[in-house]
């Protein structure tokens, strides 16, 4: 995944986490899409998946704390987007384990995650940045 400057929110902690998420998803997709047989890469895929599940929850919590701190008016709607994604990750993980690590489930998950993450960082999170900038400008007037 290609990190672009325009994705920066302007809050160092959040921006660092976003860059880390992009890097982790890149490793995850690269592992998943490598030419190796599924049996040869499943343990690495599972390890990355497990890390990402925890990291995403931590990141969402930090982002929500920042929204609360600045009084972001769309915090509830943003939190719902996070909650829905965490629920989706949970459902897929459960199915994945139940089926004995079926590759097709994780390929579908990764494809959706790729598009979802770029859109979330480039669109939804930018609204937080716009609000923070507007608020700061008003305070400086």
């Amino acid at each position: 995944m290609i990190w672009r400057e325009k994705y920066n929110v302007g809050v160092p902690e959040i921006d660092t986490q976003h860059e880390e998420l992009f890097a982790r998803v890149t490793v995850f997709v690269e592992t998943l899409r490598s030419d190796k047989e599924w049996s040869g890469k499943v343990s690495q895929v599972n390890e990355t998946l497990s890390f990402m599940k925890d990291y995403v929850v931590t990141h969402f919590q930090d982002e929500e704390a920042y929204q609360a701190k600045i009084g972001y008016p769309e915090a509830a709607a943003h939190k719902k987007v996070h909650t829905d994604m965490v629920a989706y990750v949970g459902t897929v993980s459960e199915q994945y384990e139940k089926t004995g690590y079926e590759e097709v489930l994780i390929q579908q998950f990764a494809g959706k995650l790729l598009a979802w993450l770029i859109n979330h960082v480039a669109a939804d999170d930018q609204k937080i940045a716009n609000y923070a900038r507007k608020k700061e400008a008003e305070q400086n007037e």
Binding site: R33, G111, A115
Partner: protein, 154 residues
């Protein structure tokens, strides 16, 4: 029923493709209907619409365009259409449709969207004299994306 209902979907598609892929799109000069042969070499995503508008929105991405889309997002080469690619396109169609219904809601047209269905070019709503079909094609450096809005009178 007005063709204006298509505008939020076409606008949302242009904005989403710009945001996710950094590419510009224009309404294609050639707006002729896809042939049966074209349909075989593309990924179709259908999103159901409920509420003030009922029906579905269909997106068709030629195979080459589909592979370019995932390449632009991931920075990796893709050589075949598989579950990863179709799922990514399903999510893009979902994002476009979600943005379009948000736009419609500002005009007091309140709708919900249903989860994407992959490679079902024609949905289950059935076409009859109460069906309105509006379509457009968006052209870009990576190919043409076809958008078709199929609405039933409520």
């Amino acid at each position: 029923m007005s063709k204006d209902y298509l505008v939020p979907f076409a606008d949302a598609a242009r904005q989403t493709l710009k945001l996710l892929l950094d590419i510009d799109t224009l309404e294609a000069a050639n707006q002729t209907e896809s042939t049966e042969a074209d349909n075989h070499d593309q990924v179709g995503v259908v999103i159901g619409l409920t509420g003030d508008l009922s029906g579905e929105i269909q997106y068709r991405f030629p195979s080459e365009t589909s592979l370019e889309i995932v390449k632009l997002m991931s920075g990796m080469e893709f050589t075949e259409i598989d579950e990863f690619v179709t799922s990514a396109l399903g999510e893009i169609a979902n994002i476009i449709s979600g943005n379009a219904v948000t736009d419609l809601s500002t005009h007091n047209v309140i709708c919900d969207i249903l989860p994407p269905r992959i490679n079902e070019v024609s949905g289950g709503t059935g076409i009859d004299e109460t069906t309105y079909i509006f379509s457009t094609k968006l052209d870009s450096e990576i190919g043409v994306v076809d958008i078709k809005l199929q609405l039933k009178m409520n």
